[in-house]
Amino acid sequence: MKYYAYYPGCSMEATAVPVELSIQAIAKPLNMDLSEIEDWTCCGSSPYGSVNKVEAITIAARILALAEKTGLDLVTACSSCYIVLSEARSLIKENAELAATVRDALAAVDLEYKGTVRVRHLVEVLFNDIGVEAIAAKVVKPLTGLKVACYHGCQQVRPRYGFDDPEMPQWLDLMAASLGAEPVPFPLKARCCGSSLIISKEDVALQLINKLLTNASENGAQCIASTTCPLCHTNLDAYQSIAKRRSKANYNLPVLAITQLIGVALGLDYQALGLHKNTVSPRDVLAPYKSKLQEVKT
């Protein structure tokens, strides 16, 4: 059993509920304990950094300090939380003045951040700690013939955190392939989904979403296997129909978080994987791979 200090992030409780469900569902068969850090609070995400950087780093440091107390690696599936927490860590390390501010602020709530905790992305943990072969060995329903476009998104691979290529990452493809699926070439696999512009300037974001989905569809994808980032998943899934309508396109690409895809191959219950909560229904595309499961409710 591998233990981690799991940090879900605010979106996992709301728009990204299907992703979170699938993460917890596959944790057990893969022998991972992803218990939430107790009493976690928001990391600030990108917006707080654009409002007040020092405050943002400090509230992120609270999470780092809480995780440090457990002695385990901090693991998050939200790419934004991953970047915020990693960056907080490195900025505190390189800036003595900032470190002092953080120390005093945390001391006010009886917390201490020593700088020892490691911040890791769930995808990297699945790849390095569990291993693609180990996951493949547990597959009960190989996804043979399923053409997936593996969408890694931006913040899982950039700036350089030392795992996977920042432009043409491969890990999700390797993982999908180990499940028996067929990853298709997808040149825009690490390009932006529009991120929070979907709220403040949705026409720009919708154009980006459309570009991604068109590229995937033109390369023969039947569905998208996305990183676990809530915003990427939501933008491609929940906003797909709006993007389609605005650009008059006609793709129909169910967006499965990689953890949902793994869950399907492991023969897990579709509801447990949150598949019934996806906006673009994966029912048809996953029909050939049902093992002993319930109907996917739309």
């Binding site: 605010c10 950094g49 934004s80 932006c192």
Partner: protein, 184 residues
């Protein structure tokens, strides 16, 4: 830059954590060349940095450009001097917000409401935040988004009430300490 430099705006930006290497920029343009949304920027990222160095404070903070940064970090990954342009754009956003600049984009409102939600609930309450945001900035757009909202709601992806988090008091205390310390 030197301690006694007259480039006050540059110094100000460089003092924000993460933006300290701005003066090492060689203006190569790879940031603008990689930028996902560059076509929408009034002044592409490289030019913004040049304008900061030229002390064009007002022009920079009032432009719509920096608000189009989607944090895709292509600029940061490609920069040959490792100056982290994305961080610099975020730093400029924070300066613009602090001074009350009202650029022609709804991002400032969004950021403020989101940060508010964190301060109040300890976590972002997505429904509350979205509601306030659309109400404040663009009620008509909210109506267009209604089908999506209903879809998310019925799929259990939009809890109506915020979770009760004890940590929110700690957040308050932490932030009070940071403000008291006179940071930024």
């Amino acid at each position: 830059m030197r301690k006694n430099s007259s480039q006050t705006f540059l110094k100000e930006v460089a003092s924000i954590p993460g933006s300290n290497k701005i003066s090492e920029c060689i203006q190569c343009g790879v940031c603008s060349g990689s930028c996902t949304t560059a076509a929408y920027w009034e002044h592409p990222p490289r030019k913004i940095i040049a304008m900061v160095r030229a002390d064009m404070r007002d022009d920079v903070l009032s432009s719509n450009s920096i608000w189009f940064c989607v944090s895709c970090y292509l600029c940061t990954a490609h920069c040959p001097r490792d100056i982290r342009p994305a961080n610099i754009m975020h730093a400029l956003e924070s300066l613009a917000l602090k001074e009350g600049y009202k650029p022609p984009t709804r991002s400032p409102a969004m950021y403020k409401i989101l940060v508010d939600s964190i301060k109040r609930n300890g976590r972002v309450h997505e429904f509350g935040f979205m509601f306030k945001y659309y109400f404040k900035t663009n009620p008509l757009a909210a109506i267009k988004m209604l089908p999506l909202a209903i879809d998310l709601l019925t799929h259990g992806r939009m809890p109506l009430m915020p979770k009760k988090v004890k940590g929110k008091d700690e957040i308050k205390a932490i932030l009070a300490k940071v403000t008291a310390g006179g940071a930024q």
